[in-house]
């Protein structure tokens, strides 16, 4: 038997934080690629300390719903899951390339295939583009459009910006959008000045965040000038300094994200059959999860 466990941050204050994780777990459960699909959280239940106890399978694929490699993926999750002998060097990663490592959970004796976070997986690039398609309602969106990938940015963790740059570069290489730019909340270039970074009249702005919450629903819309007060909402697209800003909200709520989770597990050795294709087909055109 093989199980998939999706681990995420969750929140004591906001149910939207875990909503995409549940939605993607449901999507994967429906394609029957795993005997069990479970979720575990840092701030919700079951906790990371206990989630493996809820799993009957001997082989467990753990996929972190996090954007970048760092404190949570390298320290908190392996510690709380009690992954025996974990050392971050097992990932042999440059901050973007973590794939998986196989360890034993000392609490349950299960074999755990601990995967890199969804945010750094190459398929995440497709999800960002899909998000642009969803928000514009145009499956061919690109020509005449700029695309901004927005990250939190922090000086405490250089990997945080790496994931943003990585996907922005990959989208740029697709040659699909007229312009592509990486922007940040807490470092230069800042999302506040989004209009300054684009010549295109239409700009899709996609935050590389797992869930919609304080940053994606309040800070970023206000910082960009989409609205003076997030509580009054904003238009999509909204006019800002002569540009039409198509604000997409957190990419993690896009239903295609389930595909990234599956690919992480498959690359770690999970037998998922044709589930990746099925999920891609099913999530195409369906409304974004969490909306």
């Amino acid at each position: 038997m093989q199980a998939l466990v999706i681990v995420a941050h969750g929140s004591h204050l906001n149910p939207d934080s875990s909503a995409p994780t549940y939605d993607h777990a449901d999507t994967i459960r429906d394609v029957d690629a795993f005997d069990e699909v479970k979720t575990g959280f840092w701030k919700e239940e079951p906790s990371l300390r206990e989630v493996l106890r809820t799993v009957e399978s001997d082989e467990v694929f753990v996929v972190p719903m996090f954007i970048s490699e760092g404190y949570f993926t390298e320290q908190v999750i392996p510690r709380e899951l009690r992954l025996d002998g974990w050392d971050v060097s097992e990932w042999d990663s440059d901050g973007l390339s973590a794939s998986h490592a196989t360890l034993t959970a000392s609490d349950t004796n299960q074999r755990v295939h601990y995967c890199g976070p969804v945010g750094t997986h190459e398929s995440m690039t497709d999800v960002l583009v899909r998000r642009a398609e969803s928000v514009t309602g145009d499956p061919t969106v690109g020509t005449g459009f700029g695309l901004a990938v927005v990250g939190h940015g922090t000086e405490r963790n250089e990997n945080s910006a790496k994931a943003i740059e990585y996907h922005a570069d990959r989208i740029r290489e697709m040659d699909r959008f007229d312009e592509v730019q990486a922007l940040y909340m807490d470092e230069e270039p800042e999302v506040d000045d989004v209009a300054d970074y684009f010549e295109s009249e239409d700009v899709v702005v996609v935050p590389l965040f797992i869930a919609d919450g304080f940053h994606t629903q309040e800070d970023i819309p206000e910082d960009m000038g989409l609205t003076d007060d997030y509580r009054t909402g904003y238009d999509v697209p909204a006019e800002v300094d002569g540009h039409r800003i198509w604000y997409a909200g957190a990419v993690g709520t896009e239903s295609l994200m389930a595909d990234v989770v599956l690919e992480r597990a498959a690359e770690a050795g999970a037998d998922v059959g044709d589930a990746v294709e099925v999920v891609r087909k099913r999530t195409r055109g369906s409304p974004a999860a969490g909306d």
Binding site: H12, K43, E44, E50, V51, T54, D58, Y71, T108, N109
Partner: protein
């Protein structure tokens, strides 16, 4: 009982050590079969005779079939080393819970089947589980809120669900529409039912409502619940929670008293300050144990750690005796979550909103300082 179950029993009796389950013993000695229950003892049976005897004891046969073939056999007992270091207990925990649901350890098969015909009901936190048995011994389970336990079998007044993960829509918000960050808070809303679950989906549904309670309850029954006490949990923390190990034992007592009692959480607290130091606070009466301070407690403790770093100061306030009592009543009403119960016009209650507004109007200055006394050092 159906023919497939009887065939399976013949096969099982025919091979290996035979069958020994819930009072049913069946096996073969040479060419002859044996069939025993607490009420029947037959030996020297031909296969045809064995089938005949088994057919006249259908409950024993279908009971054996349900537990060993549908729920799955009990996995071998872990050896001593496993038991104390790590246990892989998923399927055994599920099985133990389902047997608990029909009181299988307390009653023999005939009594149980008679009880299951009417439905055997047990409480799990605010959940009410009713087990019943079908024509072929298949168990079906009905799940609803304890507050709806007496609502007969009538489902018309309840929202009816079928799939385990639909329970998320029940557990996320309380009846006032507020987010429930703690799944075992005694605020599960009522008015719903899962009327027809099989064993596996019952366990899955319970796991959505009260995550990980079944495996921890199972470990406790097996005598191998691993408890992580406050000091160990606090020392393990890193990042912004690194500071919580500064709290002294008295403050840990206050944490348990504020967060970990029945009025706030249905888990029964098994952790203490450390292995040697028991906390005085009541552990609670919950059916499932709490084996470690949860993330809500750790997050709250972080705030209290920063508050406890402050030195106390002396302030001077002028309050009438009734005003002092009013302050105490307000704190008590907020701490007990009673403010909504206080009637709009009941100015006899200290925590009444108009009473509180009167006190604020009288005692606060324009900056919101009580008695006009500034908080800071200036």
């Amino acid at each position: 009982m159906h023919a497939g179950q009887l065939d399976a029993l013949v096969d099982a009796a025919d091979g290996g050590d035979g069958v020994d389950f819930d009072g049913l013993r069946a096996g073969r000695d040479g060419d002859a079969f044996q069939f025993r229950t607490p009420h029947t003892e037959r030996a020297d049976l031909s296969e045809a005779e064995f089938r005949e005897v088994a057919e006249s004891n259908p409950w024993y046969v279908s009971n054996w079939f349900y537990w060993t073939r549908e729920v799955g056999p009990e996995a071998g007992a872990a050896d001593d080393e496993d038991r104390h270091t790590a246990i892989r207990d998923g399927s055994n925990a599920r099985r133990a819970f389902l047997r608990w649901a029909e009181r299988a350890d307390d009653h023999g098969v005939p009594e149980r089947y008679e009880a299951l015909a009417d439905g055997v009901t047990r409480e799990w936190g605010q959940l009410c589980v009713t087990a019943t048995v079908g024509d072929h011994g298949e168990r079906r389970y009905h799940l609803r809120h304890v507050a709806d336990a007496d609502a007969d079998a009538d489902l018309s007044s309840l929202d009816v669900y079928a799939a385990p993960h639909e329970a998320r829509s029940i557990v996320t918000y309380d009846e006032k529409g507020r987010y429930r960050p703690l799944k075992t808070a005694p605020t599960l809303r009522d008015g719903w039912a899962f009327p027809d679950l099989d064993g596996r989906s019952l366990v899955e549904t319970v796991d959505v409502v009260y995550p990980a309670t079944i495996p921890n309850w199972y470990r406790e029954r097996e005598g191998c619940l691993d408890v992580t006490h406050w000091d160990e949990t606090a020392e393990r923390q890193t990042g912004i929670y690194d500071i919580v190990d500064e709290l002294d034992e008295e403050a840990v007592e206050w944490i348990a008293e504020s967060c970990c009692v029945d009025s706030q959480c249905l888990k029964r607290r098994m952790w203490d300050a450390d292995e040697e130091t028991e906390l005085d606070t009541d552990r609670g009466d919950g059916v499932f144990p709490c084996r470690e301070p949860c993330s809500l407690v750790v997050a709250a403790a972080r705030k209290w750690t920063t508050l406890e770093r402050e030195e106390s100061r002396t302030y001077e306030f002028e309050l009438t005796p009734s005003e002092k009592e009013q302050v105490e009543e307000i704190i008590d009403a907020v701490a007990e979550g009673r403010t909504d119960e206080i009637r709009e016009a009941d100015v006899y209650e200290g925590a009444n909103r108009y009473r509180a507004r009167f006190l604020r109007a009288k005692q606060f200055d324009d900056e919101g300082n009580l008695s006009g006394t500034p908080t800071g050092d200036e």
